[in-house]
């Protein structure tokens, strides 16, 4: 990585030096041409003066013309032939033209190379910065469950606890571990998505089955948090996407809804789907904490936390919705989030291209 950067920087410096050299060469050639034309003009003027001197000394015009063919003699006056002046001007013009084309071509080629290298350097710097941010954020996200885990263990080591207190601590520790495990999974998922190393195979996938599977998996947790999940997805709707990605997407959106509803003491989540204009739409509506409408787009950024319980919440990783958006992009689909405001619930809409074999 570093060697590439050194190489790119060296190439950039060489290109800049070359561009300066080409510009100098152009300037030098122009000056040289002017000097040469001027010298030629002076030589012809000297010839004309010599011819005039010969004429003045009685040498015949015919003999003078023989000696100095470039000089025109007209009525005893010698002068440089007009055609010659024309030739000099034409030659200068021709040279200028050539320098302009050649120079412009070289400078353009050098400029394009410089642009390409500068862009690569900038892109690389951006990647490094993003990686650093990512690492900082990831380590930060891990420190809270880690601190909680350590605190619970040290509490058990330091104090004599009643059995029910121990049980509470053990449950807390297990939940912290589960949280860290979920984080690792999501971080790996998002890292793979980031590097584009995802084996994404679009095929017709039935929405009903995918939603039913995820709802069944989340059912127990939802019930313990007093959240009712109602799925009204009719069988027979096919989206064009990767089946594994679909599971991840539906799971993340539903978990996000669950995290939004739990802090308000329970509520409901409604999942519905329909087909329209060659697309399949899945909507997840919750009665949770909602968000400020202006923050709709920010929800899908990594590690966004808009308010307690919403978005990444205390148990989230802040990566779930980011992963959803990336996977939707890979499926040529899109995802939007809308809310009337804080406390007003939220609605997430996922839209995929409909599978051509739908209803078959």
């Amino acid at each position: 990585m570093k060697a590439t950067r050194v190489f790119q920087l060296t190439a950039l410096v060489l290109l800049v030096v070359s561009a300066v050299q080409v510009s100098w060469w152009l300037f030098d050639q122009r000056t040289y041409t002017i000097e040469r034309v001027n010298a030629a003009r002076a030589a012809y003027a000297a010839q004309a003066a010599a011819a005039q001197a010969l004429l003045d000394n009685g040498v015949s015009a015919a003999h003078v013309h023989e000696l100095l063919p470039q000089i025109a003699v007209d009525g005893g006056r010698a002068s440089v032939a007009p055609a010659l002046e024309e030739t000099l001007r034409a030659e200068r013009h021709q040279r200028y033209n050539r320098y302009a084309w050649e120079g412009a071509f070289f400078l353009l080629a050098l400029g394009v190379c410089m642009f390409v290298i500068a862009r690569a350097l900038r892109a690389e710097a951006l990647v490094v910065e993003q990686q650093e941010n990512f690492l900082a954020l990831v380590s930060h996200q891990f420190k809270t469950p880690l601190a909680s885990l350590q605190l619970s263990l040290e509490t058990m080591a330091l104090r004599t606890l009643a059995p029910e207190q121990s049980r509470t601590l053990i449950e807390r520790m297990l939940a912290d571990l589960a949280r860290m495990e979920a984080m690792v999974t999501q971080i790996l998922e998002s890292a793979r998505l980031e590097r584009g190393r995802v084996d994404f195979k679009s095929e017709p996938v039935e929405l009903h089955g995918a939603v039913a599977r995820v709802v069944a998996a989340l059912d127990e947790r939802a019930r313990s948090q007093r959240v009712a999940i109602a799925s009204e997805v009719a069988p027979g709707l096919y989206a064009l996407t990767d089946p594994l990605a679909l599971d991840v997407i539906v799971r993340n959106v539903l978990e996000n809804a669950l995290a939004a509803v739990a802090p308000v003491g329970g509520g409901h989540i409604a999942v519905s789907a329909c087909a329209r204009n060659g697309e399949v739409e899945l909507a997840v509506k919750d009665s949770g904490v909602g968000f400020n409408p202006a923050d709709g787009a920010r929800l899908f950024e990594k590690f966004t936390r808009l308010h307690p319980g919403g978005g990444s919440g205390p148990y989230g990783t802040g990566l779930g919705l980011y992963i959803v958006q990336r996977l939707m992009q890979l499926a040529q689909g899109r995802v939007t989030a809308e809310s009337e405001g804080i406390g007003q619930g939220a609605r997430f809409v996922l839209i995929w291209p409909a599978a051509p074999v739908a209803q078959s």
């Binding site: 880690l146 605190l151 307690p308 205390p314």
Partner: protein, 243 residues
């Protein structure tokens, strides 16, 4: 506005992570403290406006108003309750930022339970000392060189009649120096008495506070008569002023 008997052993825990908050609170309770909780910065400020406590354990990364802003707002509102920051960011720059916001101590996550409890005790001990050292009418007010400092109200009137609002650290440093008037107090002693052990990376911080005190109370801060530097050792406070 220091804590009175009402909240003398009460600690407010401001932490948005429910597990961590529960763990911290259970341990503080087991140590005999009364505990109150707030899940975000706004809740914490609201609670602090209506209630009193001896210490605030404050998470830095809070949703909405963050911990640093909470601490700054508290100080701006004249609340001098000590603050112990808990944070997932532990590099020295963040530490200094926390202390500049008016925090008393800083602990990065994950932390050791016993160290946490030790620091809580240390902060409370320092404040107990400060409060008891400013408890009587004689010790609550310090007069020197035309200046008058009220340790309980964190206010002062300078020799030129100008009213001064002291930060709690300035007041504490002044208290330590006044208690040992005429004696040499080392920078390390000042750090230990006012901040605790390893909070600040350097003793230069103390020098900065002394400069601030000189600016407030000396007629000619460049040629101090009350806050004297003892080169290579520390400081000496003279109430009567150097002749």
């Amino acid at each position: 506005m220091s804590a009175t008997a009402e909240g003398a052993s009460r600690v407010l825990v401001v932490e948005d992570d429910p597990h961590l908050a529960a763990g911290v609170m259970e341990n503080l309770r087991a140590e005999g403290y009364e505990v109150a909780a707030a899940g975000d910065g706004e809740q914490a400020l609201e609670w602090l406006r209506a209630n009193r406590c001896a210490l605030v354990v404050l998470d830095v990364m809070l949703p909405g108003v963050d911990g640093l802003a909470v601490c700054r707002t508290m100080r701006d509102e004249g609340n001098s309750t000590p603050v112990l920051f808990l944070t997932a960011r532990g590099d020295p720059a963040d530490r200094v930022r926390g202390l500049e916001a008016g925090g008393d101590d800083y602990l990065s996550k994950p932390f050791h339970l016993q160290e946490f409890l030790l620091r809580v005790r240390a902060i409370l001990r320092r404040w107990d000392w400060y409060r008891s050292a400013s408890a009587t009418a004689a010790t609550a007010v310090l007069r020197f060189g035309g200046n008058e400092v009220d340790f309980r109200a964190f206010r002062a009137r300078a020799w030129n009649g100008e009213a001064q609002e002291l930060t709690e650290k300035e007041a504490m440093i002044l208290k330590v120096l006044a208690e040992h008037a005429g004696e040499i107090v080392s920078r390390e002693d000042l750090l230990e008495r006012v901040w605790g052990y390893d909070v600040f990376p350097s003793t230069r911080t103390v020098d900065n506070f002394i400069l601030r005190l000189r600016k407030r109370f000396e007629r000619d801060p460049a040629n101090p008569r009350h806050f004297l530097t003892v080169w290579g050792v520390g400081y000496r406070f003279l109430a009567e002023g150097e002749p």
